[in-house]
């Protein structure tokens, strides 16, 4: 194996001399079989350009820090092996459609504000039992998919509904709402509902499915959002509890 070219989108809006976005190329040492994009970025930061900024966390695709736009797709840099990209040049850009802070760092404040907006916690009204709450294995299975979300923001960045409308809650927050509404232990009833049963909530989703394409954990936010829409009908039209 020989060296490999990385093409990085660089921008420091607060740099007075060069605030504009520009592309820079680096040659990264690529000797062994395996090189992840994150390792490549570390190589650049350590050996070629110390001014490169990017987020990193676990390096094992569970923390959700390093979601980037790599070779035309949303990917976790740590999880992406360059050999699987089958490309001569690795193009890395920050996640598009989000406010930029520097280089690969995007502003996630809105993302988390929206996450907070849907009351992402279990709401219970009845007193807790002494032991665990009984939940069937089948019901526990229902919350597995939405619980696996790592809040990397790929879906939020990829959603055309969120591009045009800054107040749309976005797939990740709505998936979180689904995670709790579908949980048999949750007793929110109508308490959480106004936050997602809302023109800025589930009804802004047009089942474009970009979030499903983008999700590096291969989750399906749309499935959750559609469930919520049906839940709204069940509750408001048929007066059901869940």
């Amino acid at each position: 194996m020989s060296d490999i070219k990385f093409r990085l989108k660089r921008q420091d809006p607060r740099d007075k001399e060069n605030p504009e976005a520009h592309w820079e190329e680096y040659t990264v040492k690529y000797e062994g079989e395996n090189l992840t994009v994150l390792e490549g970025l570390f190589y650049i930061q350590e050996s070629l350009d110390p001014s490169l900024s990017f987020r990193y966390g676990c390096g094992q695709s569970i923390c959700g820090s390093c979601a980037m736009y790599i070779n035309g797709a949303y990917r976790l840099a740590c999880q992406t092996n360059v050999k699987h990209l089958a490309a001569d040049v690795i193009t890395v850009a920050p996640m598009p459609h989000l406010p930029l802070i520097k280089d690969m760092i995007v502003d996630m404040d809105d993302f988390f504000a929206k996450y907070e907006q849907i009351k992402p916690w279990l709401i219970r009204n009845s007193p807790d039992p002494e032991k665990e709450l009984i939940q069937s294995a089948k019901d526990a299975k229902k919350i597995e998919m939405p619980s696996d979300c790592i809040l990397c923001g790929s879906c939020y960045s990829s959603c055309p509904s969120a591009w045009g409308e800054e107040n749309y809650l976005g797939p990740a927050a709505l998936l979180k709402a689904y995670r709790f509404e579908v949980d048999t232990r949750d007793e929110a009833g109508r308490e959480r509902m106004p936050d997602w049963d809302n023109e800025r909530g589930v009804y802004r989703c047009h089942t474009i499915m970009n979030c499903v394409e983008a999700c590096p954990k291969e989750l399906n936010p749309t499935e959750g959002i559609e469930w919520l829409k049906r839940a709204a009908v069940r509750r408001k039209v048929f007066r059901r509890a869940k």
């Binding site: 907006q117 107040n167 106004p194 909530g201 009804y203 009908v233 408001k236």
Partner: protein
């Protein structure tokens, strides 16, 4: 994002649900409408011809449902597009919604008026 802006927008389920209901009505009624107007009678569209066809009360009903459902579906669809791009404030969204309802009702009345010569033929 402004939390208040999100909180200010309540509801939306009925609009969404009616969009689906009208969609289904449209598919059924449109299939009937197109079959009778364009497949079975192509080339013969004329005042008397239409009048003959609409003498079957069922087809008149289909056309009126089509008109009402079509207007709702179209204008609500338009509203969806607008909401995606610039109706961020609740006041603006409400104003546009009311305006579109007015336009829709006007078109419905106008459309029925347009069909009237045949209904009373």
């Amino acid at each position: 994002m402004k939390a208040e802006a999100v909180a200010a927008h309540r509801g939306g389920m009925w609009a969404w649900l009616f969009q689906r209901i009208t969609a289904i009505l449209l598919i059924v009624c449109l299939a009937i409408h197109l079959t009778f107007t364009h497949l079975l009678n192509i080339g013969d569209l004329g005042y008397d011809n239409v009048a003959n066809r609409l003498a079957h009360g069922g087809l008149t009903a289909v056309d009126i449902i089509l008109l009402a459902a079509g207007i709702y579906h179209a204008l609500n669809g338009l509203r969806m597009v607008l909401l995606d791009y610039w109706l961020t404030s609740r006041v603006r969204a409400l104003a546009v919604t009311i305006f579109l309802w007015a336009v829709g009702i006007a078109f419905l009345v106008y459309g029925i008026w347009g069909l009237w010569p045949w209904i009373g033929y």
